[in-house]
């Protein structure tokens, strides 16, 4: 210690000349930083109310409260914040599936009433709603879950374009778990699925590798998981919340993974259907398509004795006779159908209603009748030349292929239609051309423009991979016939399909013409129902709607009390709708037979 120690502290005086560092107006001079985590904002139009923010919040600071009525893909809920809980960690922002939730850089909120601190961002107007600064999900490779799909292994085009071997290989264990891991369990998909399957629940079962539990969840709402797992139109995936940021979850493939990984001999044990009760009531089911099978399955569980009448040699309806084998192998169909039949469901093949047995007879023999007869008749374009014998309907050809019948395959084919059936027949014929001629020469044309094609995108892409030419946006005009054979199709450019009021009214440009050469023309522009099994007398009792469809109530009961109808014939072509219809109809039939009043006709 020295005199120096006494004096050096006084050097602090040299700072006396410095400017003060005090912020003059701390309330306005200091906005939060660019990234500051201030108060919440929410873009309510972007938000879909998935509730992921609520799930990740460790403080339970977020409530999902009603904002509007739910629609498919939007729960109508919006997050409400409780600033008596929030810790401004912004995990809710980072996890948000739509990136709608952000934070502003506003940070001053003083009040005397603590109840004020509960508000719905975006709905309750706040001063910081237009504040562009503040925390947003960090840029770059920063995600709380994988937004990219686990690649499904497909056969290479060169491996698959000659044969009808199934082209989608299915997930391996690791892949399935990785894919199931992406799910955020919001449950938005459940409402969109026509059958309202417990999608988050069975995905959770995949994640936990509990296949048995998964199968039980599947069979609660869907008795055809093997089939659905392959060819379902997966409307659920279009609303998947992860899809707003990246790829939607492969819900369909995960369903298939569960079904594929449980051996069929364990089904009865897992699903606890070894001993089913029997209430000695009988139900006749016409058609063994998805609707009929689904109805039969749920009726059998309730104890009904069901008999299915199938017009062809094998069960499955359009699933077997309309969908090519490379998409849906027959083994998979058999696995699902065999299980349903094993529940005590009786099936009569080659039995045509109206020919072998009349509906009236069924009414006498059974307590109720369900008809899921589907849409089997091909629709004609009606253009000149379409009545030629070498102009075919896609549905007929597909059925013949399945039945193993010989069909005509020429080296130049034109397919009219842009739906999934058109793609099915295109790809089936392409395979057969490849087998026969070693090359593919097939043109598929449709009214719709490329981006509006009704077929699934992957179908279009894969068709092209297999060598087919998809050339949409043309209206067929006439089929040129030479020597009793078609030589090609005249088309003109089609600009738009619908007018301003939304009615079907194609606008074509006659100056742009094209001629597609083809010695065989296939029409695939939709299917019609075949009600020939219903007698004319009986038809009088049925109520018909505007587009020639039979009117039913919410449980698919027609105006004839004992006659229920469902499936494609009522709701249009879609497997999962058929399954859902069959399930509801089964409940309706049960109510009807037990004499319980239920929903009035629609």
């Amino acid at each position: 210690m020295s005199i120096k120690d006494l004096l050096t502290p006084f050097t602090a005086w040299k700072r006396i000349t410095k400017d003060p560092v005090t912020i003059r107006d701390p309330f306005n001079d200091r906005p939060g930083a660019e990234r500051y985590r201030g108060f919440h904002k929410n873009d309510v139009n972007k938000c879909i109310g998935c509730g992921t923010c609520e799930d990740i919040c460790e403080n339970e600071a977020i409530d999902m409260v009603p904002f509007k009525d739910p629609i498919s893909g939007d729960s109508g809920l919006r997050p409400r914040l409780d600033y008596g809980r929030c810790c401004w960690c912004a995990l809710c922002v980072d996890v948000c599936t739509t990136n709608s939730l952000t934070l502003s850089n506003e940070y001053t909120w003083v009040t005397v009433d603590p109840e004020d601190f509960r508000y719905t961002p975006g709905v309750d107007k706040k001063a910081w709603d237009d504040n562009e600064k503040g925390w947003k999900k960090p840029e770059g490779n920063y995600e709380f879950y994988n937004i990219n799909r686990v690649e499904m292994h497909h056969l290479h085009p060169e491996d698959r374009d000659k044969s009808f071997v199934e082209m989608v290989k299915g997930y391996s264990r690791e892949q399935a778990i990785a894919e199931a891991d992406r799910c955020v369990e919001c449950g938005i998909c459940t409402a969109t699925c026509p059958a309202h399957m417990g999608i988050p629940e069975y995905i959770k079962a995949v994640r936990h590798e509990d296949m048995e539990e998964g199968l039980r969840i599947l069979y609660e709402t869907n008795p055809l998981p093997e089939i659905c797992g392959r060819i379902c139109t997966h409307k659920c995936e279009t609303v998947c919340s992860i899809g707003h940021k990246g790829d939607p979850l492969s819900i369909r493939w995960l369903k298939r993974y569960i079904a594929d990984n449980v051996s069929s001999d364990k089904y009865k044990e897992i699903l606890n259907t070894i001993d089913l009760s029997n209430n000695h009531k009988k139900v006749a089911i016409i058609g063994s398509g998805p609707a009929g099978l689904s109805a039969a399955h749920y009726l059998a569980l309730m104890g009904y004795q069901c008999t299915i009448f199938e017009q062809y040699e094998k069960a499955g309806g359009m699933m077997r006779y309309g969908i090519p084998e490379y998409r849906l192998p027959y083994d998979s169909i058999d696995k699902d159908i065999d299980y349903i039949l094993s529940l005590g469901v009786d099936i009569k093949y080659n039995a045509r209603i109206g020919i072998d047995i009349t509906l009236e007879q069924l009414n006498k023999d059974y307590d109720a009748v369900f008809a899921g007869t589907g849409l089997h008749l091909g629709r004609s374009t009606g253009i000149p030349g379409s009545d030629n014998e070498h102009v075919y309907y896609a549905t007929d050809l597909l059925r013949q292929i399945t039945a193993g019948e010989e069909i005509e395959v020429t080296d130049q084919i034109v397919v009219i239609g842009g739906g999934n059936v058109a793609m099915d027949i295109t790809r089936s014929l392409a395979r057969m051309q490849n087998q026969k001629f070693g090359k593919v020469n097939i043109i598929t044309t449709a009214l719709e423009r490329e981006k509006n094609l009704p077929a699934d995108l992957e179908e279009v892409v894969e068709s092209r991979e297999e060598g087919a030419v998809i050339n949409p946006g043309w209206a067929p005009q006439s089929i040129e016939i030479e020597n009793g054979r078609p030589v090609g199709l005249h088309v003109i450019k089609c600009n738009s399909l619908f007018d301003d009021s939304g009615r079907f009214n194609p606008q074509c440009d006659i100056t742009k013409k094209e001629f597609f050469r083809g010695s065989m023309i296939v029409q695939s522009i939709g299917q019609g129902m075949d009600l020939s099994y219903v007698s004319e007398d009986f038809k009088k009792d049925l109520e018909f709607g505007p587009r020639g469809r039979v009117q039913t109530n919410a449980h698919f009961q027609t105006s004839v009390k004992w006659f229920f109808m469902g499936g494609d014939i009522i709701e249009g072509p879609d497997v999962i709708h058929g399954i859902a219809n069959g399930h509801k109809a089964a409940i309706g039939i049960d109510n009807y037979i037990q004499g319980i009043d239920f929903a009035p006709a629609k």
């Binding site: 005090t22 008596g84 940070y107 003083v110 009040t111």
Partner: protein, 229 residues
């Protein structure tokens, strides 16, 4: 009213020792009266807190102005939020210019900042400190924790809402609120006081039984007087 705690202490020490200066004795008060004191007894006011009726007209306005412009804050950091107090007392934010300053003891303070969560153990001390503060007194509650439990909403040792135990004048949102937000909170409090709405201490007096019942429900080891100042 002699509480059990006092009695126990007395018993304990009586057996061991009782130094002459600790014995009960009589002393003469400044006014000449003779009073008896017991050095081993805690002397505290056993009266309940009283409501302070405002004075009339401009007198009260003047008093409120004076109160609002000299907020003396008790230097008791009860939770995380107290980390933002030092920036306030240092040059950058300098709260002295707003008439706000820190005091080391409750007897000199009239603002109590509950800076975040309160564990049961701290709540007991906070209540005691609050009651020792002279009226009129105000409480500023910081952050989520004082409003609805905040981060520690499911903790077994922190209270969820402060207004059950102490009357709160101003709440500031944030976890934790920045110094600027705190200054805004002082601003709000000044507004309240100037408009004569800083009445929470009177509310505490009015609903004293309710507050005490709530406090006693969770503070099981209640070895302190019911009210002391």
């Amino acid at each position: 009213m002699e509480r059990e705690f006092d009695k126990a202490i007395k018993e304990m020490y009586k057996e061991k020792f009782l130094a002459p200066e600790n014995e009960v004795r009589q002393v003469s008060a400044p006014d000449g009266s003779i009073i008896e004191i017991d050095p081993l007894k805690d002397y505290f006011c056993q009266e309940r807190p009283k409501e302070h009726k405002p004075r009339k007209g401009v007198v009260e306005d003047f008093l409120n102005w004076a109160r609002a412009e000299s907020l003396w804050v008790l230097g008791f950091g009860t939770g995380c939020g107290s980390i933002e107090i030092p920036p306030l007392v240092t040059p950058r934010f300098d709260m002295y210019r707003y008439g706000v300053q820190m005091r080391p003891t409750p007897r000199q303070s009239n603002v109590f900042i509950i800076s975040g969560y309160l564990s049961v153990k701290t709540l007991k001390r906070a209540i005691r400190s609050y009651e020792q503060m002279p009226s009129p007194k105000y409480i500023i509650a910081l952050g989520s924790c004082t409003i609805n439990g905040g981060m520690y909403w499911d903790s077994y040792n922190t209270i969820n809402r402060l207004d059950h135990y102490m009357p709160v004048d101003v709440y500031i949102a944030g976890c934790m609120p920045r110094p600027e937000a705190l200054l805004a909170g002082f601003g709000k409090l000044k507004e309240l006081i100037k408009s004569g709405q800083g009445e929470k201490a009177n509310e505490y007096a009015r609903n004293f039984d309710w507050y005490k019942a709530n406090q006693k429900k969770i503070i099981r080891d209640w070895n302190m007087p019911d009210y002391n100042w």
